[in-house]
Amino acid sequence: MAMMMATGEVLGHKKYGEHYHSLTIVAPDIGERVKPGQFVNIRCGEDRSNILRRPFSVYRVHKRGGWASTIEIVFDLQGPGTRYLSQLRGHSIVDLIGPLGRGFALPKRRAHCLLVGGGIGAAPLFFLADELRNEGHRVDVILGARNSGLLLNQIDARRLASVCRITTEDGSAGDNGRVTDILDETIEKCQTEVIYTCGPHPMLDAVTKVAVSHRIPVQVAVEELMACGYGVCMTCVMPLRKPVKTTKESSKKDGGAGEEDAFVYARSCTEGPVFNGAHVIFNGTPDLVSDVELAPAGTPIRQSPIGDLDDELAPPGN
């Protein structure tokens, strides 16, 4: 693991569209190492009222050699943490930990990649698109949001994508509706082989269901509440359908929530935030896990060009 504590310096802060802010931070050690889908955990001030760091996906990276590489994050104002960040200006010092988490698995051969982003959740997909394009993959994009003001960087999305589709729930830009309304037709039109998605969990769930129905591997980047961001607190877990069948003996009552070995809790900060969508139980209160509608266990996924990320997963714990 290459995570580290770093002191970055703000190179620039700008308003980004109607709602969002962008911070470019000189953080060479992180900039040189970070992969698409990874994130940084930022300390938003020294005072002790809101102590926890805030996690942000890396939106863009500018490698400028060992000394001046920058990372860029985009965010919308939510509460005290993002308000603090929105007040930073050039030369402000930023206390960061990164790069954190497991990023997106990239195709091992040339592939048609469809990137589906919702609202500010699209942030890591831009870094991913840059990287996929550099490696010669075809990139198509669907961006969705409640209204046009909440679409993240339409201009770059159009520039990076062979096909770029926009949806808004109020019809103020692109198609009226949700990303999933046009997902089937886009997959068919673009002959999509891999889907990458990030946004609200109900959207990830819906995109995953469509991907699974097309037998396309789907990589989802989740956002869970995180206290530490580096794997020690166990607050950020996502329930994953257990890839390996365990013996009946190991699933007897041993405290905690009714122990059924149908799922494991994986830390989204270290084993994620990118997971194989087909393994994630999105709306699962795990006590009720058997009631949750899932793709049936072992749903065959089309021969994946990206390999099965989750096969390499370390079992959750600590």
Partner: protein, 320 residues
Amino acid sequence: MTNSHHPGTDVGEPDLSVQLGSISLSNPILVASGTFGAGREGSNFIDVSKLGGIIVKSMTLNPWKGKPTPRMTETPSGMLNAIGIQNKGVDHFLAEDLPWLMKREATVFASIAGNTVEEFVRVADKLRTGARGIAGVEVNISCPNLEDRNNMFSHSTTSTAAVVEGVKKALPRVPVFPKLSPNVTSLPEIASAALEAGADGLSLINTVFGMAIDIETRRPKLAGTMGGLSGPAIRPIAVRAVHEVHRAFPHVPLIGQGGVADATDALELMLAGASAVAVGTMNFVNPRSARDICAGISTYMKTHRLTDLSELVGALKLED
């Protein structure tokens, strides 16, 4: 970059070593259970051998899955958590974590948990095989007791005594520190029960019961409804608890914890009577907290011309 706090490496660097009962620690700052895993992740930031000690995540007889999410919510100067002791079990600790920690010469405190007295005792039994690498055991009795209508062990003198007695029998030669919950009417009463049952020292405090409600959804913010409050918000409660127990049992070694963020906070707990201090939630914010706190204590010793930290333990001045 690496700031060494080895006693004696620099001329004039104060010696931070302390005695916690029979245990010699190179410095008084430990990391608290559940806030540093078993050291692997944290070792990206800090040398685990330089910690006063690492109290590992509580372990149970079999792996525990833990509670549903959300498990955490931030609160003023702290956080509420309801993790449900997600852990891989004592066998995993013995096979994977302990050898890793021993190789790095870390001072290890095993933390054990269970839902029945028997479970605690069976974990302790298993730990005997690893006793060589374990400096002490913390007993996390802030667990629901299935045999007592799910009341927490730590809230009853009889349950506390039963667990401590069983664990002590299984590990007669390892110092045992029951970890007390502050959510009781009389802490000295519980402390007394633990000590009579054979505890070598006490650890206090565990998290403070709390709850938060989302006013939009009208639901609790934690899936577990209630949770444990930790972080700077609870420090005055920890100081009070350590003070109260130290006054009642001045010769009992105490591990103080709760809300420690910097050297001032750690020294406050030592003055109240703690021989060692564990830092918890602040590890999430600053994984190098323990190291930074030691540096601060060094500075304090220099300014106050202290040569022996144990002079501070319980050195609170009271007028009465």
